[in-house]
Subunit: 396 residues, 2 copies
């Protein structure tokens, strides 16, 4: 077992060095000095301190650039972060190195409605497995995402509509006690957004929206490279935007919410209706076989060419597109990433979302606006959660 | 006439000193050193440089705080900024001092559709009047707001729906040439938002939305104290969010836009219909008297207790509220300010907007969300435009 590390950046310059090494890889002292616009002397002094606390150090001579030979600096090879991404019906857990490369992961199904004790115990059991796999006793930090609004500063879920029993539960402190390291807790969609920004299709994007269509629907907002959480930490809660006054009842208690039209649960509900009505032979056969239908079954029926299933996807995409068109007019983002379980439904959904969004927004805002599927899938949650805790550990 | 000034901040520390003096008033060197967390020596050196370029200087001894006596520093008394706020049907022009106190203003009606040459000539004539009134030949800078999307960096309007003839016209450079000073051009709603932030109901607010309901409808977005313009500079264009697929035709060419339901022009249209149908005796009398109706006439009919006019305001407020509820769920702002000509309609409109917004958003986002009327009215545009150019002059 490697020894545990308790280091943390001591000042803003160390934080900038660590973030640069995380995002760019090993750099010479000369390159660090250039990129951060400080003297080599400053870089050398701070790197020496970072070596003492076990966060970074010298990693041999850098390739010559013609002048004085410089020394290569890299993050410590001992840094290990844990990422825990908990959704309504499944969880992903992983261990990364200091640059957030995933070293080991586990996925399993879960039911968020079983409450925090049961779900967190299951997640922590997976964490133990991945830590054992990479031979680490205690990680340097852990990030946790859950499918509901979170008070980021207190580290607790706040009135989460689809998480009965979790309201106010001290998730951050409970996980921190178990793992013996600092922990951050955030909304699952924020976690997915920063994961996609670090290693996915939004790599390098400064202003973008990540829209998760899973059991619920939510949106991560990245402004100028950073997550925007809103004044109360509940920004991005687009699943509960009301799109029709007298629409279906939503888990939040209101009627006509986007989620009640287009979330995974809504899709399963509409698929079941279509199966029972006899309108969809493919869905009826799946219902017969499995006893109940999920959003994934709609994808199966679509792949079998079932027109009714295609219509369900189109309707779902149209509602999402209407809301996204409004957000594009309001926010003028540089990119929209669509993720979540429902993206298994793929291009039928994406093309409908694109069509409505492009048609209903002003040309200036959509002229150069990519609307794309997430690249990372489940692993995005692990990378994103690790990235959030790395930002905390790598800052003073 | 005072001599003209050509100064500008030379570095980030000078910029911070100038912004502090603008927003806080005269401060002692000791206070500046405390607030900006640098040494008194640094402050003294930078203030000496600012005095040389005519931006700030010593203004006598500060009141003693018990220890060593400190010197008071203030912005130069010679600084004069011009603010020009052009709307669809009226313009406001003013001169301010370095702290953006308004020294002289003029308002007049205009028709934005007459095109840039005619409208800018009228605005510049008013600018000459106010400059003469305060005895200044050449201001230190000017800010200009226009009612449409603007490419902030190029200083030109971009495909503005209600500004025929203005697309791509070099407004910033034309005004700069005439006044012989640096100029910034922005969307009128952004200008109003920063005006309200500097001197109105949003003073001190870090994250808020300013919603202007005038001939058109737009939204200024302030995040962490600064305007958010979006990737293409057209963020906040909420007037063209489609709220009903088969709604009335909008000036932008689409159908069912918020503006086509609730903008001033839409209100005038619906009021005229109500007057002609005989449903509203008050509006019919106003139409008879004036030959045509505006949004202001609806306010007059409301004040006369006309039920049909009250219904028009309620419908308008309901549509605005539906869009704001969606934006609250998405953005979780700390405050919403309602401004623009239509706010003459006052509390009937406000109460409807509040009711719908509070009812349709999640409690976490609205629990502590003030929705209030703008305090500044026309003068907000002058202060905001002056503030935008002050930010440019006060930065390196």
């Amino acid at each position: 077992m490697r020894h545990s590390l308790a280091g943390r950046a001591e000042n803003a310059m160390q934080a900038r060095i660590l973030a640069q090494l995380r995002d760019e890889g090993p750099l010479s002292k000369a390159q660090l000095a250039d990129q951060l616009q400080v003297s080599r002397t400053t870089i050398a002094a701070e790197v020496a301190r970072l070596a003492e606390v076990g966060l970074a150090g010298e990693a041999g001579p850098a390739a010559s650039r013609g002048g004085r030979r410089s020394t290569l600096v890299d993050l410590s090879e001992d840094i290990r972060f844990v990422g825990i991404s908990i959704g309504a019906t499944g969880m992903s857990v992983g261990v990364t190195d200091g640059r957030l490369a995933v070293l080991a992961t586990r996925h399993r199904g879960c039911d968020i409605r079983q409450g925090p004790e049961a779900v967190l115990a299951a997640a922590l059991a997976l964490v133990r497995e991945v830590l054992d796999e990479v031979g680490v006793d205690r990680p340097m930090g852990a990030g946790v995402g859950v499918p509901g609004p979170v008070d980021f500063h207190r580290g607790v879920p706040v009135s989460p509509p689809i998480m009965p029993g979790w309201d106010g539960y001290p998730v951050r402190d409970a996980v921190s006690r178990e793992l013996g390291c600092p922990v951050v807790l955030d909304n699952d969609v924020n976690v997915l957004a920063v994961g996609e920004q670090h290693a996915g299709v939004a790599k390098g994007a400064r202003d973008f929206l990540y829209v998760k269509i899973g059991t619920g629907i939510g949106c991560g907002i990245v402004i100028d490279g950073d997550l925007y959480r809103g004044v109360n930490g509940c920004a991005g809660d687009i699943g509960h935007i009301r799109i029709e006054e007298f629409g279906p009842t939503c888990a939040c208690g209101n009627t006509g919410c986007l989620e009640a039209f287009s979330g995974g649960a809504a899709l399963a509900r509409d698929a079941t209706t279509a199966a029972r009505s006899g309108r969809s032979p493919a869905l009826a056969a799946l219902l017969q076989e499995k006893g109940e239908l999920t959003a994934v079954d709609v994808g199966t029926a679509v792949s079998q060419g079932d027109p009714q299933a295609v219509q369900l996807i189109r309707d779902s995409g149209r509602h999402v597109g209407r809301v996204l068109a409004a957000l594009v007019s309001f926010f003028n983002p540089g990119m929209i990433v669509i993720g979540g379980r429902v993206t298994g439904l793929g291009h039928a959904l994406l093309s409908e979302i694109r069509g409505v969004t492009y048609r209903q927004s002003l040309p200036l805002a959509t002229g150069n606006l990519p609307i794309v599927l997430s690249e990372l899938g489940d692993e995005g949650g692990v990378v994103g959660a690790a990235r959030l805790i790395s930002a905390a550990v790598y800052s003073p």
